[in-house]
Symmetry: C2
Subunit: 219 residues, 2 copies
């Protein structure tokens, strides 16, 4: 097993949480596919689920290359990611789409900021395993069409989106508490100390509000 | 839309049933992955599930190339494949492995015989979308180890395997009744008429018995 240098200590943690995230996204998109109203949508969502496993394989291969067992790297994150998903099980097709679009969107924004500070090849790897834009376009088109057909849906789905963010923040705090090394990955991008962190959160919040608005939901 | 010649009339049916089979296998392996006793096995099975979607994509692309909408090609087979899977929901991890190994094994043997009579590129395509040997090896190792640890399991899993075959035969008869053109794909390989068909069934039965025996189960 190679010994990561001090600066790289958090890389296996980062790849581990991304790996488990990909496995879980595969599960969830697969379950969402079974809620699809027709075979065409089911096939489309199943393909997006399968793409997550391609990401998983790339992350797991990189972990192995670093001398880290992918299962060991994922294990610290299983409880908090599972808790988030258990507490936010979509009840129908639209809730599943909103959850994946909103939740993945925030996660991707965050990992994109983190990637900027990584050395290669991890920087490119992390950027390449972010979620496919195809999914976002698909989710937006589906939700917009549904809200257009039944404007009352906007309230229910808006409430759902707020609940998702609340649960995600709770679990993210637990992840960071359990793996403080992960914070060191973000630190280089908060050059002004607490103000920089506030700016990061502001950027994430602004993008989140844009996504809500593109779904026709209020933030 | 291209007009398939008389001899090719059954090709879209064949690619359609294979496409829907791949989508369903993706679903089932994904559900089996959630029954896995640990994260390592869950990841392994999730990867095998994702491989089914790669097969699905190749089959759907070929259907599109032939001027056939993949959803239209799959639709005639949805009810019978769903009925088979509804009536054979695995209750645990081992039942899921036995089902996939036994069921996919019979299906693969059958499609391999059918492929021999197809023109290219469909012949190679059908052979390439058969199930991965990795899965068979994984399932055999898991079931053998479990039966070794608890020999009483052999009776329950043997009974399960017999039920699977009974349900599969019932549904295969319904598929053929609904899409008689599919039979023309097999006919060239039963040169002796009914005797040839008997020989085909005998070959499939012999391979099935070998698979059961490799799992340590009686046929």
């Amino acid at each position: 097993m190679s010994t990561p240098g001090r600066d790289d200590a958090a890389v296996p943690d980062l790849l581990g949480v991304l790996s488990y995230g990909a496995l879980v996204a595969f599960d969830n998109l697969g379950a969402d596919a079974r809620l699809a109203p027709d075979l065409r949508r089911r096939a489309a969502l199943s393909e997006m689920a399968a793409a997550e496993l391609v990401h998983y394989r790339r992350l797991a291969d990189r972990l192995t290359e670093l001398g880290v067992d992918p299962v060991d790297a994922m294990t610290p994150f299983v409880d908090s990611l599972d808790a988030y998903h258990e507490s936010t099980r979509p009840r129908d097709w639209l809730e599943g789409l909103v959850k994946a679009y909103i939740g993945d969107g925030i996660a991707d924004d965050f990992y994109r900021e983190v990637a900027a500070g990584l050395a290669e090849p991890d920087r490119t790897l992390v950027l390449e395993v972010l979620h496919d834009d195809r999914y976002a376009e698909f989710a937006v088109a589906e939700v917009l069409a549904a809200v257009d057909a039944d404007p009352k849906l906007a309230d229910r789905l808006g409430l759902w989106a707020r609940r998702l963010v609340g649960e995600a923040v709770t679990q993210a705090q637990l992840v960071v508490a359990a793996r403080p090394a992960l914070v060191t990955l973000v630190e280089p991008f908060v050059p002004d100390g607490p103000d920089g962190l506030a700016a990061l959160i502001e950027r994430l919040t602004a993008s989140h509000a844009e996504r809500l608005s593109s779904l026709g939901l209020r933030s």
